[in-house]
């Protein structure tokens, strides 16, 4: 137990940023304090997640390169890690081309709305103990409300470009986002039901504590595991990432809704998309993976924000892995998957979460909920695949 000997040092490391902010705020005249505190938090969030975005671009290109048997960026800096800097300078200095036919104002505002909405989502994410910008009573609802604004910005971009590929991409994106939003919210509702609160901070608090060395995360229950998987699948679709990247299918519709954007506005779309993906992952962490709490009881001395970012990087790695592994879905597969498979499973999961709450015996509720979740998954999957003729694919060339 030597680890716990320096308890106050652990506490200081954990609350370092909170204390630093309080120290700065204490040096400001009284009336401006609330404003300064908010500005500091907001600037910190912007800086941290924008640099995470820069880091992720190079990690993703390196990771995809590894998966696809090539090098990835390796020219700028050691191992190519300064690539985002070069990309940033390039996008800042490029000419900003607006098509003559484009609707100038809507075209201009679309990327701004996207980035503002994407960053607003972080306001309710607790990234560490006492580290949340706004602890709102209806935090989860705020998150989904703001994320729905991103759909509007995508429509604005696609429509205002006056380009058929842009419009097609935007319509695909909106259809996809509406479809998967249902599953996303239903999966989140299970946690809201279990925690009895819409506040992200309360939801994390409900997952604190350990049984033995294992934490009380919602993902470690049958309904929570199913909810987490459903949530992450829907989040992948919401972020327009492979295998749900039809809205941006380069080989079909060039780049979808941001075809007609160049230079820094293009970079803003890129930024908005990644920031949105991080935010979705962050909500997934908050709802199912215990937020900033440590995964094992003897690891609680590690500062809480490090756990949040470790979990976030883990999910990002999964996203990159999935992108490098899975082919793109077809439009009808996409819709069938959402409405015939994910939605029923999400509804059944909701019932399982309710049963979990009210069944008295620990063993009984484990068995009942597991059977409900796994059984519905197997039966629904079998039922939907009944008409399929799945055979081993035979290649007639290169034998």
């Amino acid at each position: 137990m030597t680890l716990f000997a320096s308890n106050s040092a652990v506490e200081t490391a954990d609350q370092f940023f909170v204390l630093a902010e309080r120290w700065i705020v204490a040096h400001v005249p009284g009336t401006a304090r609330a404003l300064v505190a908010d500005v500091i938090s907001a600037v910190a969030l912007l800086a941290v997640f924008a640099s995470l975005f820069a880091m992720t671009t190079v990690l993703e290109r390196k990771g995809l390169g590894r998966i696809q048997n090539r090098y990835g960026p390796n020219r700028v800096g050691p191992f190519g890690i300064l690539q985002p800097l070069a990309d940033g300078i390039k996008s800042l200095t490029k000419e900003d081309i607006v098509p003559l036919a484009a609707d100038r104002w809507v075209h201009y505002f679309a990327p701004l709305v996207l980035v503002v909405a994407a960053f607003s989502m972080y306001a309710v994410l607790p990234i560490g103990r006492n580290m949340v910008l706004a602890n709102m009573d209806a935090g989860v609802l705020f998150f989904f409300a703001v994320s729905s604004v991103m759909e509007v910005s995508i429509f604005m971009a696609g429509w205002s470009s006056k380009n058929k590929y842009s419009l097609l991409g935007a319509m695909r994106a909106i259809a996809q986002m509406i479809s998967y939003e249902v599953t996303l919210i239903l999966a989140a509702v299970t946690v809201v039901m279990a925690a009895g609160s819409l506040s992200t901070v309360t939801i994390v608090e409900k997952q604190a504590g350990y049984t033995g060395i294992l934490p009380h995360w919602f993902v470690l229950t049958p309904w929570g595991f199913a909810g987490f998987v459903l949530f992450m699948i829907a989040a992948t679709a919401e972020a327009n990432r492979s295998p749900f990247d039809l809205p941006e299918g380069e080989s079909e519709i060039i780049a979808g809704y941001f075809t007609e954007y160049s230079g820094f506005k293009f970079a803003l779309f890129f930024l908005g998309e990644y920031i949105g993906m991080f935010a979705m992952s962050g909500l997934g962490i908050t709802l199912f993976l215990g937020g900033w709490t440590a995964p094992l009881s003897f690891l609680t001395w590690v500062p809480s924000y490090l756990w949040f970012f470790a979990k976030l990087l883990f999910l990002i790695a999964m996203f990159i892995w999935i992108r490098g592994t899975l082919p793109r879905l077809r439009m009808d597969q996409l819709m069938n998957f959402a409405w015939k498979f994910l939605l029923p499973l999400a509804l059944i999961d909701l019932v399982a979460a309710g049963l979990w709450r009210f069944l008295p015996n620990e063993a009984v509720r484990w068995i009942v909920c597991s059977v409900l979740v796994v059984g519905s998954y197997v039966l629904l999957g079998r039922g939907l695949a009944r008409g399929w003729k799945l055979e081993k694919r035979v290649y007639r060339f290169a034998e």
Binding site: F144, V152, W159, M171
Partner: protein, 164 residues
């Protein structure tokens, strides 16, 4: 102060919805109006209603309108409107509705009690009310919406069959 700003934004958005000659621009202006209304709700301390306003009206209703417009009309061209007799009658109807509403609001007891105690409603209270006191109305609305959904699908299916 804040209320004045957002009231102006809301009313300006609503005016733009009527005045703009491009349907998509009108929808975007409508979104500004919805957002302004949401902020007004938030200023009144109604967090749940404010966020639900954004989620439902911007995230669903506005997107639905956009889909309806894009699927039914050529959106490139601006709509030209000529003023004719129907404007007079619709004007009369609008004035009548406004008069009735204004009369009702003016004579209601709520607008005359000088200081209302601001109810501190938490989301939890709203949830409890919906699940306990108003459980039946909620279920009825759910049933109604399901019926509407099935009806819409049925109509769409029939049209598809006729097309073939």
């Amino acid at each position: 102060m804040l209320f004045t700003i957002f009231a102006i934004v809301t009313v300006a958005g609503a005016t733009a919805v009527i005045c703009l000659r491009n349907l998509v621009h009108s929808v975007l202006a409508l979104i500004v109006t919805f957002a302004g209304l949401a902020v007004v709700y938030l200023l009144l301390g109604a967090q749940f209603v404010g966020f639900a306003q954004v989620l439902v009206y911007i995230g669903a209703v506005a997107i639905l309108i956009v889909f309806a417009i894009l699927l039914t009309r050529n959106t490139g061209a601006d709509v030209r409107v000529s003023i004719d007799d129907s404007w007079v009658w619709s004007g009369v109807v609008v004035a009548g509705v406004f008069a009735v509403l204004a009369w009702a609001i003016y004579h209601s007891s709520v607008s005359h009690s000088a200081t209302l105690a601001q109810p501190a409603t938490t989301t939890q209270q709203i949830g409890n009310a919906l699940m306990q006191q108003y459980a039946l109305p909620l279920e009825v609305i759910g049933l109604l919406l399901t019926a509407a959904l099935i009806g819409a699908v049925t109509i769409a299916l029939r049209e598809q069959k006729e097309a073939r």
